[in-house]
Subunit: 414 residues, 2 copies
């Protein structure tokens, strides 16, 4: 009598790039499903993205005692993230070292949870495995608040930021509406979005059919027309008494240069942004004489788990689980993507995207989502955006603040 | 047989100064109790603070059909607020005009819902009524996110901002904690507070006994010691990998001047602040070389009804109701105040303060609330602050955003 023994390979999971309020929901989906479907294998989570692998810092998740469900309520990256660009494929030394590290742990599945740059990293790993003959399935898990990944209808992480922006803009608008008679008449909220205006566009969701809370949206998809903008703000104040502006950090001037650029750049050569709101606010005060207030949401918007969208959470879990299914099917160089089936009612399913169509691509707002004057979002755009912010999933609180308890993490002993 | 007829006088209610996420809860408490206790009288709400009275724009609340309970969930000032300084008492013409306007509407109760400046306004009205012989009870209702009113233990509006700041700082801290290995190492959150550091101090509430999320707090009560601060931030990054700083807009330099002053001033002569966070962040990057992110919460913090403290809401309602009780007792020149009975368990009651002890006074953080190095809040301070952010009271959502429906408002026909 003979037995055939199939030995299940272990898995590597890492979080990469800017984190979101629901990236740990993807971690939850992925880890819990891997533990179930690959019950005899182990899964290692890398500390600080791929850097953990290179520095021998991997969390052994078989040792974790606290419930994985903790991950469902915790913003940020539970295992740490990184901004790290992999070298080109001709760097044989680097990739041989990488695969030796994976081989030592009998790792056959490489899960990389991130955005455009991370899809590029994952694709490089998939290609390098082919090139250097290492048996590895490299699968990306989508995550980015920017919502700018190609192929997928939307990106986990975005819906929660959109909900934060729409809610915050509505709240601030009610505030300035009370004050505008004798005081502040203009409020500028700066939000993230380097090249794509998805986040700024979500300011439109503050508005209802009966009432306008956000009057202007400044998108990177439109070169900033100062005169038209100022005339519009003046008209808002004249009509409503005040004007609320949601502005994307990536706004460009007439030459296509960042309107509020700074000198610093990150390891991918991206400029570090911030400071657009005070610039726009000063412009308005200087030119029109209106008292202004402004806010820069920055990290607050992308870490605000207390107001995450439950649709977003559901999808973040789903892509994590789907990555494990793709691994089981032996796929590599792919990413689970969200496919929209209908707007009303909102229905979606998970499908598969090819990383070569996704890596380093950026999806900007389609033309039909932007109003003719360039400062608002059309009905088509609203129909696309609205379902993504739907549903509340408040975290547990203790002593007045969300608990946000991580799982216990244990570095693999070397 | 003889009948004695007591004719109940009408009431005037106005919201004044910077609004909060719960000022409408005080309006709810006050209006609902007045309607109940003074059932034959009417209450008028002034459009845009006292300006509505001077411009004949008063809402006749007897015509309101929608439930007053709507006010419990709506941030901003439901009736509009103002920044408007009353003239001195020797301006007989102004006050005679004011009292004629009140007299025409048979108003015997003047309720003014605001902070320090509004207490001053209310006190002037009380004194002027005495001086010019007008039968009017002028009662202030406390409201200020700054928590700097004298006599009262705390101010309605503050607890909700404190909850917002503690929650947001914790969330952003989890974000930067994920990123600090290869990217951002310093996060600066700028919060409100001109002269008193109560709001910045609430950043301390992000911390737990086991974990530090906020490492430095910059208070207006301490002159900014650049060298000590930078050394502290360097130590944080060296120990934890990152540093989170909550900074009060009112931070002063060694000469006692605002560290980030702008030139604009409001009608009370206060400087318009903002822009401290980028200044602190740049200082750190320039001196220590750490990549930074920064956020300016501005109006978002004080309008964030979606994360209001239920203790704060309860107290905001209570001071509104208490103002009506004081009116019924015939008091004038007073304000209902919150009196703390114990910290653990937190118990409080409403008491009465004299406006002459409150108007234009500012209560700063007591010395025993500030740590020795000046950058943290002591256990005593935490014991004071913690109960104020306790409890959640999420608003109703529709289509992914809070509804925030106002009551219907009908201007009195002239």
């Amino acid at each position: 009598m003979e037995y055939m023994i199939t030995v299940m390979k272990n898995a590597f999971y890492a979080q990469s790039g800017g984190v979101t309020s629901v990236i740990n929901c993807s971690a939850y989906g992925l880890i819990s499903k891997f533990k179930k479907d690959f019950s005899t294998a182990n899964i290692y989570a890398s500390k600080n993205g791929i850097v953990g692998l290179l520095e021998d810092e991997l969390y052994d998740l078989s040792k974790t005692k606290k419930p994985l469900e903790n991950l469902l309520e915790m913003p940020g990256g539970a295992f740490g993230s990184c901004r790290f660009k992999l070298p080109d494929l001709d760097d044989e030394k680097f990739y041989n070292d990488l695969f030796q590290r994976l081989d030592k742990l009998f790792i056959g599945y490489f899960f990389y949870n991130g955005g455009n740059d991370s899809a590029d990293t994952c694709l490089k790993v998939a290609k390098a495995a082919d090139k250097f003959g290492y048996d590895l399935k490299a699968i990306a898990v989508p995550k980015t608040i920017d919502n700018d990944l190609a192929v997928t209808d939307n990106c986990p992480g975005f819906g929660s930021v959109a909900k934060y922006v729409a809610t915050s803009a509505k709240e601030a608008s009610l505030d300035i509406r009370s004050m505008c008679k004798t005081s502040t008449k203009v409020f500028v909220l700066e939000v993230m979005g380097r090249h794509a205006g998805w986040i700024a566009a979500s300011g439109e969701l503050a508005n209802t059919t009966n009432d306008t809370f956000v009057h202007k949206i400044l998108l990177p998809e439109r070169k900033f027309n100062k005169e038209k903008f100022l005339a519009g703000v003046e008209a808002d104040v004249s009509k409503h008494g005040y004007s609320v502006i949601v502005a994307s950090e990536g706004l460009k001037d007439q030459n296509g240069e960042l309107y509020a650029a700074t000198k610093e750049t990150d390891s991918f050569g991206h400029s570090q942004l911030g400071g657009l709101a005070p610039k726009i606010a000063s412009l308005i005060t200087d030119e029109l004489g209106f008292k202004n207030h402004w806010s820069v949401a920055d990290y607050l918007q992308r870490s605000a788990r207390h107001i995450s969208s439950s649709t977003d959470i559901e999808q973040a879990i789903a892509v994590g689980k789907a990555a494990v299914s793709l691994a089981a099917e032996g796929k590599s160089g792919v990413m689970p993507v969200i496919k929209r089936l209908s707007n009303k009612p909102y229905r979606w399913e998970i499908s598969t995207g090819d990383l070569k169509d996704i890596a380093n691509e950026e999806k900007v707002l389609p033309e039909n989502f932007i109003s003719e004057d360039g400062f608002r979002i059309t009905g088509d755009g609203q129909d696309y955006l609205r379902p993504l912010i739907s549903g509340e999933s408040f975290p547990k609180f203790a002593d007045g603040v969300p608990i946000y308890e991580n799982i216990d993490l244990h570095l693999r002993e070397i």
